[in-house]
């Protein structure tokens, strides 16, 4: 994990400092002892230079290959399936990975907040270590691990916060439930009174940064790909089940610097579960959601690959009335107009992108509301609020949305 790596860099720094200190004494000692003063220095230097260091322990863990987890025993997304709600809002532990991905763009309400723009992300990731439930006496025994990311973008103050939490699914520390709906890790949660979502309440807070939103019903559930089966590579089974709630009117408060700001805007929920996704050669993906001012919503992703065959693109267009269809991606072009290099990690991400879908009459320029929306967490990626401007079906279009860039 990135966290781990950062920590071990810390150790390395510490060790290096210690070695420097040792080297310094060594450099000074071999001089011939010409005077009493040098003799004195000889004795005192090690005392002064090398204060006792608190021991730090570091080690590399290696788990025997044969004993590490694999996909055996998990179900795979091989064919379209019927979706049943509310049960499908809950967890699918027979698949290895699953997420509840909330993003959204918001605007401050009332004086003096009117016009202040915010972006948020609240994501619950579930990973199954093995299929099925463990039949063990300890309450800590589980096959389910949870990772949650909470990020907030304050456009006016050009601030971006990102937090992460981990927990196993045990003792009600984390988990997902369909009825009444709840997905949570400690007090970061999305809840509903019943099984139907929306309505939903989203809550997350850490270090003086918080969100608390009510999400109202917007457009109905949209199934991506082939009736919800979203292929990620040519290999069968490298696919996910994928649906979205693309337009959720949000209302509530954002707290920054200890100050509550009433906000409203639009949120987007992505639901996806799978066992294996990436095929050989696939290095990462770019994903985009857009809520256009005319009521149209768009989802587009591209899996990048070192081989042309591994490059997979897919997209969905959701009309203002809620009906949807796959985007025609023939001759699609995804062009990076500008890049941004993270000062923290040194990684360069696309910063302005032009998306052209000639068959759809779509030509949009996508600009992040803030260049630095990099989540430098255990897993490092860029995910942030964007706006888009250009043409759709040959008429002017503009809108807001979220962009995810991984594997850079």
């Amino acid at each position: 994990m990135g966290e781990t790596q950062r920590e071990s860099f810390g150790v390395r720094r510490h060790v290096a400092a210690f070695q420097r200190c040792k080297a310094a004494t060594c450099r000074r000692t071999p001089k011939p002892l010409t005077s009493w003063r040098s003799l004195l220095l000889f004795f005192l230097l090690p005392l002064l230079a090398c204060q006792p260091q608190p021991p730090q322990v570091s080690a590399r863990l290696s788990v025997a290959e044969a004993l590490a987890g694999d996909a055996a025993g998990f179900e795979r997304a091989l064919a379209p399936r019927p979706f049943v709600f509310p049960p499908d809002h809950g967890a699918h532990p027979s698949f290895r990975n699953e997420w509840w991905y909330f993003t959204g763009n918001l605007e401050g309400q009332g004086q003096p907040f009117a016009g202040r723009r915010f972006g948020f992300q609240l994501t619950f990731f579930r990973t199954g270590l093995a299929p099925g439930d463990p039949a063990r006496p300890s309450a800590w025994a589980t096959h389910q691990l949870w990772m949650t990311h909470f990020a907030l973008t304050d456009v006016e103050n050009r601030r971006f916060w990102a937090f992460e939490r981990f927990s196993r699914q045990a003792l009600d520390l984390a988990g997902a439930r369909a009825e009444p709906f709840r997905v949570h890790l400690l007090d970061w949660q999305a809840t509903s009174e019943g099984g139907e979502i929306p309505p939903l309440r989203l809550e997350a807070a850490q270090d003086g940064v918080a969100i608390d939103f009510q999400l109202a019903p917007g457009k109905p559930i949209v199934l991506h790909g082939e009736g919800g089966l979203s292929r990620k590579s040519a290999e069968a089974g490298n696919a996910s089940y994928y649906y979205s709630l693309p337009r959720l009117p949000a209302r509530g408060t954002v707290t920054v610097a200890g100050r509550q700001v009433p906000v409203s805007g639009l949120a987007w929920l992505d639901r996806e579960w799978s066992t294996s996704v990436l095929g050989a050669g696939q290095t990462g993906w770019d994903w985009l959601s857009l809520q256009l001012d005319d009521g149209t919503d768009l989802m587009f992703f591209e899996l990048r690959s070192t081989e042309e065959a591994g490059r997979v693109r897919s997209g969905t267009l959701v009309r203002p009335d809620g009906t949807s269809r796959p985007l025609d991606l023939t001759q699609a072009r995804w062009t990076t107009l500008d890049t941004w290099q993270s000062p923290k990690t040194g990684v360069t991400y696309p910063a302005r992108i032009r998306l052209e879908l000639p068959r759809e009459g779509l030509d949009l320029t996508i600009t992040p509301l803030l260049p630095d929306q990099e989540l430098n967490l255990a897993f490092r990626y860029w995910e942030g609020a964007i706006e888009a401007e250009g043409t759709l079906a040959s008429s002017a279009a503009r809108g807001r949305g979220y962009l995810e860039l991984t594997g850079y």
Binding site: T25, P55, S138
Partner: protein, 855 residues
């Protein structure tokens, strides 16, 4: 001129290889002992720090309850209350494994997902995004999955997938090695060597601790925010769970062994001190030898400063070579010594394995500095002697002896002053161990400084009787000692000091041992003792379960079962050991009371209205009958008066003793750490032993059943093992003193060559010369031995009554075994005679004509 001087010095040292060699050896031995002890101590301490840091990680604070741990629901509650605060729940237990005989392993149950901020090496490794923890799948999902350090796995011959069975009191659980930890540096290797890492679920299941945790590690922010968070946390804690800074745990364990380590260091410094006397002796001798040369040089215009520098440079040469040799010797010896030190720490304090010597550059530097510094300080009097005499006077031998006589008187006065100062330091009302050692050294030096004067007096006093007994030769031998004091004074002082130390350490060990035996006799009143025989029982670890206890009590042949349960809790804000005892009248009356009247307090104690303290605990906290204690219990704070203090040599940590019914009212812990069984008259011990084992097996436990004789014997075995280090040091100090005498006598031989030649010319046979020399050295040894007796007894009293008390808080009865005294005198005599053999042989061979040619 200075080059000439230097050459003259070098030539002199080269022409006297024996004298210079012995001086070098003296310094080397002194430095070696100090370095070896310091390295051994340092390595033990480092091993300890590392084992702590492996389990503490980067935690700033810890939440812990007593030895029983606390319900896991507390973690859930606290994580919900403080969701942003990094918390790592842990389960800890000391375990043994048949796969690793003789090793105590620390089983650490962790939640890997919580470990990144604390012990990053236990957190899931780098994985592709959205695949968190995949490499930890086996570790988390396989029941019994365990990780070991790669080295440990190799030592135990375990490969991944193989079983690591645990030997435990309740059945035996089996772990499976699923992976290894490869330490990235030597320190980490040492830290992880005895760690068995498992998931929380596995820890709970294999230790039968379902629903419970041992500890929560916390990472509080620094400064005010941290203090505020700590305050909010503390307010949210249930009774029994307490918040402590992580450093406090390490510090309290470190504190426990501090006295032990300081004692060893002091003993090693004593060896160095003996070495210093040796140096002083050598240099004094070389200066005396060259008085004509120096006189001539002075007459030729060499200044005092140049001469002083020359003598000091010679000293520095001896000191430097000796110290370097000492470093080598000490480093080599430390490898042997570290095992002894670790063994003692294991016997007395806690499980600790020290596998390697940590060559601390600081210790080596200090050793070098001590060796050189001591040499230069010891060389100062001879150097001043060489320079402060006017050129002409230097050439006169009679003047020299006259001066030396004055020096002896001065040394005696200084010695008396030292004794007074030492006594005054002891009289200071303080518990400081360092101060006690300071006073001890001042006193010892004072006594040693008196030795030359006492020898002179004895020589004057005994010359006439010796003359009557052995004729003129006896008289010459005895009187000769006084006239040669300029060369023998320091040797006598060194020998006296070394013998006194030997006597003192002998008396101290004997006093300690007899006290322990008497105490064991008094306390071990039951016929049979039963325990789990598992590690960590002194800390509330292995336990006889309540089920076993019930079954044992019903066995035929058992009249009464007394029990003791050891637990940890907070007392007066610090972690303390609790002994909850269920005793009948016999058991209670067997307590050897140091304070308090047993007949008056028995009722209060048994009814749970008062507690007893063990002596070390009472001493350390300055508590006694009538004081009140605040004891943290799961049901809240108990306030109880102290009714009495009992002698307890079982641990230097000390314990608070309370009646079992009181404990049962406030703690959930059941079972017992050990049982004392009183048999009905006529019952067959073996039959009962078998019965107890069978009853325990029926309740799923394997127990150790031992007759009280066995406990006494094994206690003494441990005791003797503990003092093995001390015995080794005592031997080394003796060796240094022996070198001193040998060297002084060799000096005498050279010095007195002409004198002997005159005697030979006057008709003395070589045989008579041999007797003369041996008689003289025997006299020297006898005087030093006799002088050492009162000094040794005084030193022993100080060790027993002051240093031991300040180190461990124990009261020991001083016992002076005549054998130790006889041994002391015999040692001094033997050393002196053995040292005299070679000079006697050489002197007897001297041809008078050759020796007189120089006249």
């Amino acid at each position: 001129m200075s080059r000439l001087l230097a050459r003259s010095g070098r030539r002199y040292l080269a022409r006297h290889p024996w004298a210079s060699g012995l001086a070098v050896l003296g310094v080397a031995l002194g430095v070696a002992v100090y370095v070896a002890i310091s390295l051994a101590n340092g390595s033990a301490r480092r091993a300890f720090d590392l084992s702590i840091s492996a389990v503490t990680g980067r935690a700033t604070h810890q939440l812990a309850a007593g030895s029983e741990g606390f319900p896991e629901g507390e973690l859930v509650r606290l994580r919900r209350l403080f969701p942003s605060l990094p918390m790592a729940p842990l389960i800890e237990a000391r375990v043994t494994s048949p796969t690793a005989p003789g090793r105590v392993l620390l089983l650490l149950g962790v939640d890997p997902l919580a470990e990144a901020p604390f012990r990053p090496f236990l957190a899931p490794g780098q994985a592709s995004a959205r695949d968190a923890g995949l490499d930890f799948a086996a570790f988390l999902t396989r029941p019994g999955a365990a990780l070991l350090a790669a080295d440990t796995a190799a030592e135990l011959g375990l490969a991944a997938g193989e079983a690591l069975p645990l030997g435990r009191d309740a059945g035996s659980a089996e772990l499976t090695l699923v992976g290894t930890l490869a330490p990235t540096d030597a320190a980490s290797r040492a830290a992880l060597a005895d760690l068995v890492v498992v998931d929380l679920a596995t820890a709970q299941e294999s230790l039968d601790r379902l629903g419970r945790l041992s500890r929560i590690d916390l990472l509080l922010p620094p400064g005010e925010a941290g203090a505020e968070a700590a305050a909010r946390l503390a307010a949210a804690l249930p009774p029994g769970l307490s918040l402590t800074p992580a450093a406090a745990r390490a510090a309290s364990l470190d504190e426990m062994t501090r006295a032990f380590r300081l004692n060893l260091t002091a003993l090693s410094l004593l060896a160095l001190l003996c070495g210093a006397f040796l140096i002083a002796n050598t240099l004094l001798f070389t200066v005396v030898e060259r008085r004509e040369v120096f006189g001539a040089l002075r007459a030729l215009g060499v200044t005092r400063g140049e001469l002083l520098r020359q003598v000091l440079a010679e000293a520095a040469l001896i000191g430097g070579v000796g110290s370097l040799l000492g470093l080598l010797l000490g480093t080599a010896a430390s490898r042997a010594l570290v095992g002894l030190v670790a063994r003692t720490v294991n016997d007395l304090y806690f499980a600790l394995s020290v596998r390697e010597v940590n060559l601390d550059p600081l210790v080596l530097t200090v050793g070098l500095a001590l060796g050189l510094g001591t040499t230069l300080v010891a060389a100062l009097p001879p150097a001043l002697e060489a320079t402060n005499t006017p050129p002409r006077a230097v050439m006169l031998r009679s003047l020299l002896e006259e001066k030396s006589r004055r020096a002896v008187a001065w040394a005696a006065r200084l010695g008396a002053g030292g004794i007074c100062l030492g006594a005054a330091l002891f009289a200071l009302p303080s518990k400081s161990l360092l101060l006690a050692f300071g006073a001890f050294f001042v006193l010892l030096l004072g006594c040693a400084s008196l030795a030359p004067a006492a020898t002179a007096a004895a020589s004057r006093l005994l010359a006439a009787p010796a003359g009557r007994l052995f004729g003129v030769l006896g008289r010459i031998a005895v009187r000769g000692v006084e006239t040669a004091l300029s060369r023998t004074g320091a040797a006598i002082a060194a020998l006296t000091m070394a013998v006194a130390m030997t006597v003192a350490v002998g008396i101290m060990i004997q006093s300690f041992r007899s006290t322990l035996i008497r105490w064991l006799e008094a306390v071990l009143v039951a016929d049979l003792y039963v325990s789990s025989g598992q590690p960590g029982s002194a800390d509330g670890g292995g336990r006889v379960t309540a089920a076993t206890l019930g079954a044992v009590a019903l066995l035929p042949g058992i009249d009464r079962v007394n029990t003791i349960l050891v637990a940890r809790t907070e007392v007066a804000g610090e972690t303390a050991i609790l002994h909850a005892v269920d005793l009948d009248r016999r058991g209670f009356r067997a307590f050897p009371f140091a304070a308090g009247d047993p007949s008056r307090i028995e009722a209060d104690f048994q009814a749970g209205r008062a507690v007893l303290l063990s002596e070390p605990y009472a001493w350390r906290r300055g508590l006694g009958p009538g004081d009140e204690l605040e004891i943290q219990s799961p049901t809240g704070l108990l306030r109880l008066p102290v009714a009495g203090v009992i002698y307890d040599y079982g641990s230097s940590q000390g314990a608070v003793i309370l009646a079992r019914p009181l404990f049962d009212r406030h703690w959930p812990t059941r079972g017992a750490t050990a049982l004392g069984l009183f048999l009905t008259p006529g019952a067959d011990t073996d039959a009962v032993t078998r019965g107890v084992r069978a009853a325990a097996a029926g309740a799923g436990q394997a127990l150790e059943v031992r007759p009280n004789r066995w406990i006494k014997e094994s206690s003494l075995v441990i005791f003797d093992r503990t003092f093995r280090v001390t015995a080794v040091l005592r031997l080394l100090a003796g060796a240094v003193a022996f070198l001193g005498v040998l060297q002084a006598l060799l000096a005498l031989e050279l010095e007195r060559g002409r004198e002997v030649a005159v005697l030979r010319a006057e008709g003395l046979t070589p045989k008579q010369v041999r007797w003369l020399v041996l008689g003289q050295t025997g006299f020297l040894g006898g005087v030093a031995g006799l002088l050492a007796l009162p000094v040794g007894v005084l030193m022993a009293w100080i060790m027993v009554a002051v240093i031991n008390r300040r180190s461990f808080g124990w009261t020991l009865a001083l016992e002076v075994p005549p054998a130790a005294l006889v041994q002391g005198v015999a040692l001094a005599l033997a050393a002196a005679l053995a040292a005299g053999l070679y000079p006697a042989w050489r002197m007897a061979r001297t041809r008078p004509a050759e020796a007189l040619r120089g006249e």
